[in-house]
Symmetry: C2
Subunit: 396 residues, 2 copies
C-alpha cells in the first residue's frame, strides 16, 4: 500500500539553501485544512533546542494547523536569538498560510550552536507554502526535507476501519545521536481520526514508550528530539472512544514501531539491525532497562558487528542494568538459536550461529528471565569502524 497523507493534510519539501548540497531538501511544511488536536513528546535533555521549548509550551492543544521543519541547523544552544527565530519561523508560516496565532509548531535539526539563516528559512517557507499538495511526491519531499545523516527518507502509514477508513501516516528522521527517554528523533504523525486532546496526548505517550523510547544507535540523547501527533478529524464521525479508540491506538503503535525501527535500521555505519527482547521480568520498566543496557554496550555491539555469538557479553550486560534477577534461570537465544540455558552455556556450534549472523542484516537477541511475565523490545545497531570513522571526522 502506497503511503498516503490522511484526509485534510497537505505537505511540501523544498531546498531553502541552508544545507550545502543543492540537490538535497531542507525545509518541510505540513498543513491541515482544519484545526487539529496536537500532542507532543520531547527530549528529556536539559540542554534542549529552542523549537522544543516552543512546542512544549503549546501542546497538547486543539487548534494546530501546521508544522514547519528545517534541517541543517538545529537551532540549539542559540540563546535568546534562537528562541526568537523559532517564533519567527512560526510567524512566517502563520502569515503565508493565513492562519491564526499559535496554530504552528516548529522543528529544527542539524548542527548545534549555529544560528538559523532566517532569510533562507523564510524564503523556503514561502516556496513550500506555494507547493503544498496531498500527493505522494509531496509527502516524500516533506520527509526528505527533515533528513540530516539519514540515507533514506522514512515514512510509515496504516489504514484502519473504524466505521469508515482512518489513516495514520508518520514521517521521521534520525540516524545517529539517537537514544531513548524520548530522546530519539524527529517525527510527525498525521491522522484524520477524530481524537480529543487528552486521549491524543495519552496515546502518543504510550505509543512512544513502546517505540521511540525503545531505540538506540549510540545511546546519546539529543537536544531536539520530538514526536508530534496531529489529529484533524477529517475522516468524520464522532470523537473516538471505547473499541474504536482501542483499535486506533493499536494502529498508532504499529506506525510508531515501524517508524522507530526504521531509524536504527538506517544507523550511521551500521551493518546489523539488532532487536533485543527481554522476557520474564517483574515489570516492563525492568525489562526495558535490561534491554537498553544490552543495546548500549559497546562490547555487545562490536560482537554483533563481528558476527560473534558472544553470550558472555550479552549476559553480563544484562547483569549490570541494576535490576535484580536470578542468574541461574537465564536463557539466551541469538537468531533463534539457543546459546545459554539456566545460567550456563549450552553446547552449540558457534560457526552455525556466526554464519546466521553474517547472513542476516537483522540480528535477534532474546533473553529469558524468570522473575515475572513482563517483557520489552528494543532496537539498536551494531558498532562498526564505519560509525567511528563517520563520527570522528573533524570538519573545520
Amino acid at each position: 500500500m502506497a503511503d498516503r497523507l490522511p484526509q485534510g493534510f497537505r505537505a511540501a519539501g523544498v531546498y531553502s539553501g541552508v544545507k550545502r548540497n543543492p540537490t538535497s531538501l531542507d525545509l518541510s511544511l505540513v498543513v491541515s485544512d482544519r484545526p487539529a488536536v496536537a500532542a507532543g513528546v520531547y527530549t528529556q535533555n536539559i540542554v534542549c533546542g529552542a523549537p522544543v521549548k516552543f512546542n512544549r509550551d503549546r501542546t497538547p492543544c486543539e487548534s494546530v494547523r501546521a508544522v514547519v521543519i528545517n534541517s541543517g541547523v538545529a537551532n540549539a544552544c542559540t540563546g535568546e536569538q534562537g528562541a526568537r527565530d523559532a517564533e519567527r519561523m512560526a510567524s512566517k508560516v502563520t502569515e503565508v498560510c493565513q492562519l491564526d496565532e499559535n496554530q504552528v509548531l516548529v522543528m529544527s535539526t542539524g548542527v548545534i550552536g549555529e544560528m538559523l539563516p532566517m532569510e533562507k528559512i523564510n524564503a523556503g517557507i514561502v516556496a513550500a507554502a506555494s507547493q503544498l499538495s496531498d500527493g505522494e511526491e509531496a509527502l516524500i519531499a516533506a520527509a526528505r526535507g527533515m533528513m540530516t545523516t539519514d540515507t533514506r527518507h522514512k515514512i510509515r502509514s496504516r489504514e484502519v476501519d473504524l466505521g469508515g477508513p482512518v489513516r495514520v501516516c508518520g514521517m521521521a528522521k534520525g540516524a545517529a545521536m539517537i537514544g531513548p527517554n524520548m530522546a530519539t528523533m524527529l517525527a510527525v504523525i498525521m491522522t484524520d481520526a477524530n481524537l480529543n486532546k487528552g486521549d491524543a496526548q495519552a496515546l502518543l505517550a504510550d505509543a512512544a514508550d513502546e517505540s521511540f523510547n525503545c531505540i538506540s544507535v549510540d545511546g546519546h540523547t539529543s537536544t531536539s528530539d520530538t514526536v508530534l501527533l496531529l489529529a484533524n478529524g477529517a475522516a468524520g464521525g464522532p470523537v473516538l472512544a471505547g473499541d474504536s479508540l482501542a483499535k486506533f491506538q493499536a494502529t498508532l503503535v504499529e506506525v510508531c514501531e515501524d517508524l522507530a525501527q526504521s531509524i536504527p535500521a538506517d544507523g550511521e555505519g551500521a551493518s546489523h539491525l539488532i532487536t533485543v527482547e527481554v522476557h520474564g521480568c517483574k515489570t516492563r520498566k525492568d525489562a526495558v532497562k535490561i534491554a537498553k543496557n544490552i543495546s548500549d554496550s559497546p562490547l555487545v555491539k562490536t560482537a554483533v558487528a563481528g558476527n560473534d555469538p558472544n553470550w558472555g557479553r550479552i549476559v553480563s550486560a544484562a547483569g549490570y542494568a541494576g535490576i535484580a534477577f536470578d542468574p541461574t534461570k537465564v536463557c539466551l537465544l541469538v537468531n533463534g538459536l539457543l546459546l545459554y540455558e539456566r545460567g550456563a552455556p549450552v553446547g552449540f556450534d558457534p560457526k552455525v550461529v556466526s554464519d546466521s549472523m553474517r547472513a542476516e542484516h537483522n540480528t535477534s537477541i532474546v533473553l529469558l528471565l524468570d522473575e515475572g511475565t513482563a517483557s520489552a523490545r528494543f532496537w539498536t545497531t551494531d558498532l562498526t569502524t564505519e560509525y567511528v570513522r563517520l563520527n570522528a571526522e573533524y570538519h573545520t
Copy 2:
C-alpha cells in the same frame, strides 16, 4: 622511587600454561608473613564470577595471608564447578604455603564461561609458592601474571611517614570491559600499615569511589571486578587513628587514583586518555553522574578520537545525565581552552583547540555548572576504529 612491596609481603608470578603464549605469565601469588586485615569492593554485576562470591563471603576480615590470581580464564558463568574450583585454588595455596583455613582470597580474569584447567592452576600455585620474593622483579612478575589485554603491567606505590615509614603498593589489571560502579578491574593493594578491619573497609570503599568507580573504557561492567586491600601491620606501631589515619587515607587515595588512571590510559585501541572534571554541582553524586555520562557517550569519545573540539556533544551529554542544572550557566574548557561560556559557544579558533588535542595523549574536559560546590573527576578513553576492530574480531 622504585615500586617496593611493603614490609612482610612477598610476591611471585609464573606461567602455568593456561594462556596460549608461553612467554606470558598467568598465575600470581602474594603472601603476607603475618595475618593481614583484608577488605574488598566487588562488581555490582548480578552475573558475577565464582571468585567474587568466594571473596565477598570472607571479607572484611582480620586474618588473610594470601591472594592467588589467575589470568586467561575468568571462572565466571561456571556454575557449581566454578565455585568448587575457586575453593580448590584457595585450598591449594593453603596447603602449599602451610596456612590456616580461610586465609586465602582468590581472583580470576579472562574468558567467561570456560572452566579452570585445575591441573595447570595447581602446578602454577606450587611453582609460584617456591618463587616468592620481596624484590621488585617478583612484584613485577605478579603484576604481569594478572594481565589479560593490558599492554603493560600496572603498579603504583607511595610511602608516607606516620611516625615511621608506611608503604602502600598496588597492582592492577584492566583494559576493556571496564565500567565503574565497582565494576572496574582487578587490583590488590598491599600495605604494612596497622589498620583495624572497619577502617580498612571504609577507607577502601571511599578510595574506590574516587578512583576505580570513576573510570570507564566502554562503560560495560564486568563479571569479576575486585579491589582488595591487605594491611598487615608489619610497619609496627599502634592501630592507625586520628591524624595518622587521615594521612594514610590520603596516601591510599593517591595510589588508587594513580592505579585507576593507568587503566583507561592503557585502554584497548585508545589514542587519548580523557580526564573529565565536573564542578559546581549540588552533590558529588550529581557530578559523578554527569561526568560518567560525558565519558560514556560514543559521540564525545569519537569526537576526541578525531581531535574535534565538539562542545555540542559534550554539553548535550551532560544534559541527559538526569541531573537538573541551569544550561545558561554552563562553561566548558577543553585542554584549558574556553569553548563555551554561560550557555553559549564563545568565539574560539577551532584549529588551535584541535591542534592541542592532536598533540597531547591526555585530553582534559572541564565542565563548570552553577548549582553548588561539589565536583568529580572521571577518566576514560576515546573511541577509535582500533577499539572496534579489537572487539569485533571473532575468534572461533
